[in-house]
């Protein structure tokens, strides 16, 4: 298990103090993360407190990265899966649904969006409770932010494209002259 290695995570790592995310020590922290991880893998889009969910996001990323790299025959990967995923049917989902879905994806496999803070709903008036939406990429739900529009045809972009083309051809011509 010690020789498991993946690339660096492609998500921002939160700088909150990890032990203070939940009360009750390391065990309680792991149980909390396992619960959220199970929810995320099952429902593919969940909503919750930013501290816990951002923390869980890294675990989800790392598990899928490992599953992609080593496959379901690898002992260390399966031990990790067994530890972090409570509902065992979700391990099947990871290998049968998520790994084929993300074979061509390089980047992060999850998205997170901050939700607006509803004033008056949090307990401590001076610490607003920031919630986020955490989702697996390419899920079947409608997009949270609607499709981005294509701005490549607007006048300013057309002009800048032409300027860029001209600059590149000039640079290539200059390089060719230098080579001669």
């Amino acid at each position: 298990m010690s020789n498991l290695s993946t690339r660096t995570l492609r998500v921002t790592v939160p700088h909150a103090i990890r032990s203070k995310i939940t009360g009750g020590g390391q065990n309680a922290r792991h149980e909390k993360i396992k619960a959220i991880l199970g929810e995320l893998f099952r429902h593919e889009r969940i909503e919750g407190y930013i501290r816990t969910h951002d923390e869980t996001r890294q675990y989800a990323e790392r598990l899928i990265e490992l599953a992609k790299k080593y496959g379901d025959q690898h002992v260390g990967t399966m031990q990790l899966m067994d530890y972090w995923v409570n509902d065992k049917d979700l391990i099947h989902k990871v290998f049968k649904v998520y790994v084929p879905r993300y074979t061509n994806t390089i980047g992060p496999y999850t998205n997170s969006y901050r939700l607006p803070i509803k004033y008056g709903e949090f307990k401590f008036p001076h610490i607003p409770r920031q919630n986020i939406v955490l989702e697996m990429k390419d899920n079947p739900y409608p997009r949270i932010i609607p499709d981005p529009r294509n701005y490549s045809n607007i006048l300013t972009n057309v002009l800048l494209n032409e300027a860029r083309k001209e600059y590149r051809t000039e640079r290539n011509n200059r390089n060719e002259k230098k080579d001669k």
């Binding site: 529009r149 294509n150 701005y151 045809n153 607007i154 006048l155 300013t156 057309v158 002009l159 800048l160 032409e162 300027a163 083309k165 001209e166």
Partner: protein
Amino acid sequence: MLKIRPCSNIIHHYQLRSSSVSINRLTNDEISAHRLRVYAKERQTQMERIRRVEKIEVDVHDPIQSKKLLMNKNLSTPYNCAQHLSSVLVDRSCLALIDDKYIWDINRPLERDCTLKFLHFMEDKCQEQNRAYWRTCSFIIGYILQTAFKSNNYLELCSFPPPQFQFGSFVYDAKLNLGDWQPNRDDLRCLSIQAYKLRDLNLRFESLNISKRVAEEMFSYDRYKLAQIPHMLRLISPDDNQPRLTVYKMGDCHVDITRGPLISSTKQIGRFEFSAIHQIDVPSYGEQMQRVQALSIPNQLHLHYWTFDYLLERAKKLNRSSIPSLPKINSPLSKIEQVQ
């Protein structure tokens, strides 16, 4: 600090030189007024032809508001439709799309039952809008050239080629009759200020289809325009089966021949900077002319000043789009058949 001379300085500078040239000729203002007079008369006669107000049903499809409107035939324009719906549509629409096929001017009256869409500069497909915008800007250069200089400095407008974005600027070819004048940076800036003044005036562009006889009367003092008229006759009107051409009027200031379409009003101009004036040889007229180049972007689009200055540097090179020429044809009718 950059010192910008007042705009009248350009005019003052060439007062002495130009006065000796054009003693017998009409001034630019008088010629312009003549064109406007003919335009107003022709428009009056065309409006009198509408005897009865008939109703048409216009089906507007727009993300802001979709509605069925009952409008007047040959009187109501897409602009009037937008006024019924939303002020956003009134301000930003530059063209209209009729029956998902035909591009229509915002200020041209509708002729039949149709579906209507409003187009603006930030759509996915905005090639038509971009072309219409630069065409309008070329049109505006014609007006600025006529008014920025002293009125008795006789100036002959020729034409402008269709907008081509790979050259980075739009142009107007004209004979300025200013000798070997090379504009410096301040002179170009003074010309640009005229365009910014137009933006505040919010002048609307109107189109009119006129017959050859009226066109020749309208442009009787412009020899280049007179030579072009037979080549511009394209439309055949259902009323009298005669070929017609389209002229556009900006507010109550300027009339010019162009095939259109143009944008809604001068309020949609964002930045407008003159970049250079080059000498060009025009073989078909056998003369030297000046190619006035400028760069502009619409009000709706924003650009950082550094980026705009970079594009403006590029727009200073000589624009290589087509030089005004007169295609040799036997009769105007053969040309029309080709087009159709």
